[in-house]
Structure formats: C-alpha cells, structure tokens
C-alpha cells in the first residue's frame, strides 16, 4: 500500500528527510554516512550531517555513544532535526536515544545479530510511535556478500554498512532508476577521500553491489511503506557538500593566509589538514609559497605565529579552548606590541579544560573577550556556515588596519560536520587590504620617512617585515615607550614613567575607532526569512525576536520558517557577526531591535549555546542595553549547554510560543 510521504515528511514544503545511522565507533560508519549525504546532495537536497561521536578511536567494548544524522531538505536549512524518519541501530549502547529519535510513523532498523532482541519497553515505545520495525541479520548478510572469507574484517564492516545503505535507499524509493545519481555520488565521495579515479571506481562498483543487495533485501520485506522522495537535479553547479572547517581554511587562504601553525586538537585539527591539502593543491609540495607546520604545542604555535606574522605573512592558527588557554601569553604579547597578521581561531567545544572534546558549545565568548589581560581586541563569529568562507579575509583586513588582535570563533558542530554551501568561486569577493604593510619593492621606492611612533591612534606605525630597512623594536606591554613616542615622529625607547602607561592604555583602546565602520555589521533575517544587513530604517514587525551568535543562527532560521508556515507567527532574527567590541553604531541597532519587542505580548530572546548566557549578559550591560538612565529592557534567554547543537524544535519549545 503506497503511502503519501507528505504526511510523514515534515518540513516546509514536504521535502525533508533525515536518516540516523548508529554503529560503535572506529569501524567505518563515517563512510556510509558521507555516501548518503552525497547521494542526497546529488538528488537535489541541501544535505547536512550531524555526528555524535566519542573521544575514542575504536569502541571495542561497545560502550560509547556514536551515531550520525544525515538530513536532506529542499528549503536550504543547515543542521538536523530531533527526530528522524529512519533510524538504523547496529549496537545496543545508544538504544534509548535511538528509539526516542524515531519519528511517528517512521522506520526502525536494527542488526539482529548484534541486538538479539529489543526489550519490551523499547518495543512499546515503537508501537506508540506506529513505527515499522525491520530486523536484519547483517552479519550473515555481510558474510554472504563480502568478497573475503569468514571472520570479522574491515570488508565485513563495509559490506554490512553498504547493504544497510541500500536497504535505506530502498525505503526512500531511491532504487535502480537512480543508479547514475548514486554512482556519481559515490565516485565523488571516494575521490574526495583522496583515492585516484581508478581506485575510486573499484570501490564504487563494490559498494554498488552491496547497495543492490540492500535493495533486494528490502524488496523481499513483507511490510513496505511505499515512500518515494523526489530525486531531482544535483546541486553541484552552485554548491559544495563540505565541512565548515574546509570552508574556514578556504576562507583563510582567500584572505591571504599562507602560513598555518597549529597543533592537533579536536575540533580544530581538520582546519590544518584542509589548509595543508589546499596549499599543496595550489602550490605543490615544499614550494616555498606557503608554510604548514605542526608545532610541538599550541603554546609554541602561538609564538611561532607572531614571529611568522612579523615576517610579513598572514597567519592562521586554529585551536580549541585548551590550546587557546596556552596561547594567551602570545596573544597578549602581540596585542601590546601591536603586531597584526595573526587570525586567532577558537573552534569551540564543550569544556572548559578537557571537557567533552567531541561535543560542541559556544561557551568561550567571555574568555576570548577578557582572557590574557586588559587589552582591546576584535572578535568575529561568522555563525552561519556560508560566512566561514567569507569572514576570514575581513578578519585579516581588520588586523592590518587596526593593529589589534583579531579572533575568530567557530565551533565543533560547524567545523566537523558536512553542509551544503555555496561554491567559494561564486560567493562575494572581498579584496585583501593590508593597510600600511609594505613589501621591499614598495619600501625601495618610498620617499617619505618611516614613523617609528607606535602608539598614536591617528597614526598607525608603518609595518614592515625584517629584510627591509626600518627595523623596530617590538616588545610587549611593559611600558615600552617614552613621551616622545606620543609626538609625531618620535623614537621609541624604554621608559617606566607612570604617565606613559596611562597614555598607552588610553591610546590603545581608541584604535578600534580606526576600523569601527569595517566591523561586520549585524545581519537581519526579516519576517520572511530574507537575509540583509541590519538597517536602522528596518520596519520591524515580528512577534518574537531572536538575537543569535555563532551557529545558533542556523536552527534559529529554521525555527523562524516553521513558526511562520505552521503557526503564522512572525519572528525576526538579529545575527551578530562581530561579537566584540559592540561599538556604538551596532549597539544602537541592537537597542532599536530590542525596543520593538518590549511592546505588549512581544518577546525577544538571546539564543546561545552556553550555560551563563554570555552574550545576553554582555548585551544587558551598560555599554549596550542598560545605558545610564534608560529602562532595562526585558530580554529572555534560550540556551543549551549539554554539548549538542540546538535544533529548531528546541528553540521553539523554549520560546514559550503559544500556537
């Protein structure tokens, strides 16, 4: 009996499917999830993955939580939903979570070899959900269909997973009619993993055989729901299926970065991996046009980064809080010596300290603002995945034009998962702007003298790398200047005069004025979901307002769409991409936005992924919303702090929306 999908597939226009695969970690689950993601991408869906994985290499004891959600939707939302139409369980440990994830009317598939039988409470839950259950003896199937002999091997795992994939594709109606789409997706998948075209083809053929077995097995099942999701034109012309960290790496290289210094740490490691591959792709190995170096520690990487930047290059260094905590001395030193050129990236994770290394959060905002000491700095948070590739150049430009340290905040969820994003060759072009930096040829032609003074705000000291005349002494804070420095054309020598220190603090803090207009402005998603730079003339008309930063913008956008389409409720979203400092012009916009929601039944929330409600606290301070003499506005908080990315449903539930 064919069943309409519309009743099952929720979402804005009926084209929204999510599959969850779960297997103990370390035996190849990644591969099949990426395959499915790519198949959806090439079937015309905005595909994303969401990995829940442990801090472990191989789960021999089957005790850790490990699953992937793979979602495809036509509306363009990034990120996943709480419930999946299809859930596949291959080991016992996460069963409670997995059964909870099954959507009403959905499908639950399990490996009957590994999970001999479901418990009565589990079965009851599935009955209540009206779920269709399939028990497959995957070990037997894998043994039959694997090309190697008996005994558990890698091949068996691959076979098992791909047969399952075939089965799942069968439930969705993606069968032999769409073999070309599947072949194309798989070929691309293996080539992106680094295989040659020929080796990839071999793997494609093998996997296709297993997928076909999966189709066969599905066809033999008594109960079939008759689902058919639409398979349309691939999104490949204008989009990529890639990770946030890849986007960040590409964005950095687009922004002029030719040096990467870092140290392996989840979730920043793949930023370095991506940069290395990209450097090699662009320039070849050991070409002298770039430098990738794995330092002995983040501590070392930080200081190397400052040295490399002083040598004239734009440098990317990416870490997570445990690494950033080690880098504070270097950041502070560069701040006080006013050395531009390093983009300090914190790919946030659940912490602090070691924390849960494989879970996400946005909990380091205040640390980045106040860490390392009292000095001004700029902190950018792209937030949406697309902006990961366009913001880095702005960060570097701000650094070169203000001589302040610039930090970029991302997180594990955006960095390590796959999303469907616009091609980098088709997004906005932002030119590299190096401010006053001069290369030797330019210096050779220079006819004006160098200004050695470094602490005037209306006169940026010229930056030049060693190798050209005009050496300067670069030293960190310790009152390094003399009265003369504050006169135009003064020379710098060491002093400990108290008035110099006071003047230093004042002058440094004014540096932001040089670039205040270039700081990425708040973005507004209006009541229709249209994205634009916030304009003080904006005609706000929302019933609910959401102020977001970092990756909460993605589920917020989906929440906005669901509330509009399903409940006729208007939501407006203010997305801050510059999270520090919140300069007066941005503050004004935020005040105006918040003011609109002080009327009657309207409400406004800050939506963020940390326990303390850090952005909300900052906004509620007297520099933004609680200005002297003003009435303190009502601003709520929607927050999540369990290490998992928010979903749209979560936001809606916590907004207290009455439908």
């Amino acid at each position: 009996m064919a069943q309409s999908l519309d009743g099952i597939l929720e979402g804005i226009d009926g084209h929204d499917v999510q599959v969850t695969f779960s297997q103990r970690n370390g035996i190849g689950l990644n591969t099949v999830t990426h395959m499915l993601g790519r198949i959806l991408f090439h079937s015309g869906y905005f595909a994303s993955t969401h990995a829940i994985f442990p801090s472990n290499i191989k789960d021999e004891n089957e005790s850790y939580l490990n699953w992937f959600d793979i979602r495809g939707n036509k509306a363009g939302f990034k990120g996943t939903k709480e419930k999946s139409q299809i859930v596949v369980a291959m080991y016992k440990s996460p069963l409670d979570y997995l059964i909870e994830k099954v959507q009403d009317g959905g499908i639950f598939i399990y490996d009957s070899n590994l999970i001999q039988e479901l418990s009565e409470p589990h079965l009851e839950k599935l009955r209540v959900k009206n779920a269709t259950i399939y028990a497959l003896n995957l070990k037997e199937l894998a043994n039959i269909y694997s090309t190697t002999g008996k005994g558990e091997t890698k091949q068996h795992n691959f076979a098992r997973h791909s047969i399952l994939l075939g089965f799942v594709l069968g439930t969705l109606g993606i069968n032999e009619t769409y073999e070309n789409t599947i072949t194309k997706a798989l070929q691309e998948n293996f080539e992106k993993e680094g295989k040659s075209t020929a080796s990839a083809k071999k793997l494609v053929d093998q996997n296709l055989e297993w997928i076909k077995k999966g189709w066969e097995i599905y066809t033999e099942q008594e109960t079939k729901l008759g689902w058919q999701i639409s398979v349309e034109k691939s999104l490949e012309e204008d989009y990529l299926f890639t990770t946030g960290n890849d986007m960040l790496a590409a964005g950095a290289i687009k922004g002029g970065a030719r040096v990467y210094l870092g140290y392996p740490i989840t979730p920043a490691t793949s930023v370095g991996d991506a940069m290395y591959s990209m450097f090699v792709k662009l320039f070849g190995k050991n070409s002298g046009d770039y430098l990738f170096h794995q330092a002995g520690a983040e501590l070392e990487a930080g200081q190397m980064a400052v040295g490399a930047a002083r040598g004239g290059a734009r440098v990317l260094t990416a870490s997570a809080l445990p690494g950033v905590n080690n880098q504070w001395e270097s950041i502070a030193m560069a701040a006080m010596a006013q050395t531009p050129g390093v983009l300090w990236t914190n790919v946030q994770r659940a912490g602090p300290s070691t924390g849960l290394p494989t879970r996400t959060s946005d909990e380091d905002l205040m640390t980045m603002i106040y860490g390392g000491g009292e000095f001004p700095r700029i902190i950018l948070s792209p937030g949406d995945i697309n902006s990961l590739a366009t913001i880095p150049v702005k960060g570097f430009n701000l650094s070169d034009n203000s001589h302040l340290q610039v930090m970029l905040l991302s997180n594990l969820w955006s960095g390590m998962n796959y999303f469907t994003v616009p091609k980098i060759s088709k997004t906005e072009f932002n030119p590299i702007d190096r401010g006053d930096f001069k290369v030797p040829d330019e210096i050779a032609q220079q006819k004006t003298p160098i200004q050695f003074a470094r602490y005037l705000i209306d006169l940026i000291a010229e930056i030049r790398a060693p190798g050209s005349p005009g050496a300067t002494m670069q030293r960190s804070a310790l009152a390094k200047m003399v009265q003369e420095i504050f006169q135009v054309g003064g020379a710098g020598t060491y002093t400990e005069a108290p008035e110099s220190l006071a003047l230093l603090k004042e002058q440094l803090s004014k540096r932001i004025e040089l670039v205040a207009d270039s700081l990425p402005k708040p973005v507004l998603y209006d009541a229709n979901g249209t994205r634009g730079i916030y304009d003080s003339n904006a005609n706000l008309k929302g019933d609910y307002g959401l102020i977001v930063w970092s990756s909460s913008v993605e589920p917020a956008r989906e929440a906005q769409a669901i509330l509009r389409h399903k409940y006729g409720i208007n939501v407006e979203i203010l997305h801050l991409q510059t999270v520090h400092p919140i300069v007066e012009s941005h503050s004004e916009m935020i005040r105006q936005f918040v003011d609109h929601y002080q009327d009657g039944n309207k409400k406004v929330f800050v939506v963020e992924q940390n326990f303390e409600g850090q952005l909300r606290k900052i906004l509620m301070s007297e520099s933004v919303l609680a200005k002297q003499g003003s009435i303190v506005p009502n601003v709520g908080l929607v927050h999540k702090y369990d290490g998992l990315q928010m979903t749209a449903d979560y936001i809606i539930r916590n907004m207290g929306v009455s439908s």
């Binding site: 050991n286 702007d433 290369v439 790398a465 060693p466 190798g467 005349p469 300067t472 006169q487």
Partner: protein, 454 residues
Amino acid sequence: MSQAYNNGDLVKFNGAKFIYHDSFYGLNSLHGLPNIPFEEFVEKTFQLGGLTVNYKGFADAKNFVYPYLFENSANLANMCHSCGHIGIAEGLGKAIQELQLPPWQIALSSGIGCGGKLSSQYKAVLPENYAASIPNEGAVAAILKDAGVSLTTVTYLEQLLNLNRYHVIHGHATSHAFGLAMTQPGLVNIVAGGDGDLGAIGLPYLKRLIQNNVNTLVIPMVNEVYGLTKGQPSPSTAKGLKGRAMPDAMDIMPIDFVLETLAIPESTYVARVIANNRKAMKEHFISGIMHNGTAIVDVLSPCVTWNTEHDGKYYELYAVDVNNFNWDDVQTQLKELGEEIERFQTAKSIQEGKVQDSKRLKLEVETRKYNLFHDLLQEERIEQYDPTNKDLAFKVERRLVEAGFCAIGLIYYNKDSVSYQDRKGLLPASPIGNLTTEQLTLSLDNLLSLEDIM
C-alpha cells in the same frame, strides 16, 4: 674579490640571503648610506677547532663604511657593571660588524630575564667621519621636517639602521625565531636567552628548533641563576653551588645545553665560550652565523650580583678547552705549577698562604680535569679531540659535567648540515612574508582548484 651587485640580484652574503635593492643603500631614498663597496671585500678566514670559517669582509677594519658600530659599551640595557651579558653583547656586536651585514637582514629575538635584555643592547651609531658630513643632509632634513618627524637626521638614521629586535615571551624566543624563519628565510636569525628562559620553560621549544635545524644562532647565556627575579636557582645551577639568594645549596646535577643539543640526532653545531673572552666570542658568533643550521653557542656569563662564586676565573678553571689540548704541554704546566707551590712552601708569610691556596686549588682541579679529559681521549685511542665526532662529544661532555667540569671551544659540528629553510624549499628570493597583495589574491582558477578537494 667580491663582485658588485645589481638591483634584483639574489645576494648570499655572510650567512644572509636577500634580494639586493640598490635604493636601500642610497641616501636619497632615506634608507641608508652610500653603496656598500662590495668590490672592496676580501675573502677572510680563521680556524676554529679544526673548522675553517670563511666569510667576506674588509681587509682593514678602519675601512668599515657600513653603519653598525653598535654601541654596546654604552650598556643600553642597563645591566649591572661587569655583567657577563655585556660582554656577550659586545662579542655579538663585533661579530656582526666584522661581517658587515645589512642590519635589516638581522633579527634578534630574546626572551624574558636578564638574558632577554640582549635585544635592548643595540643602537646603531654612525661612523664619526660620516656623521660629520652626511651627503644630502639638507635634503634629508627637509623631508623629515615635511613629514613632521622631529628627529635629527643622525638620530633618524640611527633608528632606521638598527637591527631588528624582538623581546618576546618567556621561553619562546626560539619559537618566535622559528616563525620569522618561515616567512623571512634568508635572515640572519639570532636567539638569545638565559638559562631559565632556554633551559626551563623554553627547553622543549629549543629542542624543536634544533631538531628542525632552523638556520639560527642560539646563544644560551648561562649564569646558573635567575638574575632579574633576584637570584633563584636555575636548571644550570651547579651541584653544590649556593648563590647568595638561594636558601640551600643545589643538590642535583645541572641540565647542560651542550648535552641537550648533542642528544638530538638532527643537531649539527654546538660550542661553548666564556664571556670574558671577547675574541673567542666574536669568532664563535661569526662561525655560528656562517653555519647553515642551528648553531648553539653556549656562553658562561658570570652574574656579578647573584653568583659571585662562579666568576670568569672559576669558569676558566673548571672548563677544558677541547680544541687546544696538548697532553705534553699540560703535563709540563702542571709540573711547573707543582714546583712553584713547593718553592713557596718554605716561605713563612701568611699572605703567601693565600696565594698558595688558590694555586693549590688550581693544581688540584687542573690535574683532575686534564687527567679526566686525557683518559677520555685515550679510551678512544686518540691524541686530539675531534669535533666532528658526535659520540665523542657526548661522552666527553657528559663525563666532564658529572665530574663538575665542562667543555669549551667548538665541541661538535657537522659541515654537511641541511637547514630547515633548505628542506622546506623556502625561497630567500621571494619570502612568504614579501608576497604582494596581487600574489596573495586567489584567481578564479585557484578557487575552482580548491573546490575540487572540498
């Protein structure tokens, strides 16, 4: 004879590699002094422990045109009078001067502590005859005035022509120099730090620098104390030493930079000098700069405030000059010293007793150290120390240190050293740090190429 260079030539000159910009040397463009008379440079050479060090320089020091008469004796960093570190500053200054390196090709990174003050020691001082009549001074002065620069021409030039100096965080002058080497690979890259900065917090990063054999000169300035924080023990503090501010005498053997270097399979150069020997320092620093890799030149540098017991004389007494050892000569010396002591034993003066004590100590210590060293050579069945033998170097230094001594001189070198810059294909002709905005901007083809692998 050296040839003159043309604009745009890649110059390899005395350890530095750079593109020649003739306007850097013409005063009209405000950058420097009249052209370097490269054609006047001759090949110069000296022997250091069996290594022949070659470089280019003026036949007669009086002809120095190039303006780095660094003013070390002015003690710009305000060190204690007679501090060993002042000697190091002078020695390094003389080495740079002898090499006549363009100052902007030199980077000096130093850490935290008294050792870290080395980067503050340098000030370019124009040669007297030049300062008296700067060509085009009127024009230069006018340009400075126009731009609102309130310095005199001389002061401006002194600022302009100093070497690059970086005072960085504790333990990381090595990492910082490593970073500089990545983006400006042709620099003469110098690292200086005390025994805490390089031997405690900084030791792992020093080792990473050595392991990568980054072309740098590293100067551990060893005085067995933490000077700037007032006298605490350091990892180099000798067993048994109780400096005036230490609560107790040191009860364990020190960390030794020479051993740390030799223990690294990739290390290619290590030497040690005592700071009171200016000539030796100058030669060792020149040799270190000319070495293509990480050159460690450990300097024993007495701290006159916190470690008066181990002064220059002490270090001389407890060190073995491995390059200049002749067993016959030594035996003769010891014999004569012994006889001298005996001769004076018959005198009655108490004051002579004092001289006798120091002479007796000298005899006792030298007998022990030279016998030990001689035994070590004998074990290897050699008469002379060979600084190209790493096993020998490690054994000798370890046994000397355990007995309370140390080696000085050129201890180990590998002339076939390949530097980090070479291995990575870094181009002094077009350093990463000199790429223009155009060169950094990705083309459409570049972007499509990246999309292939995303």
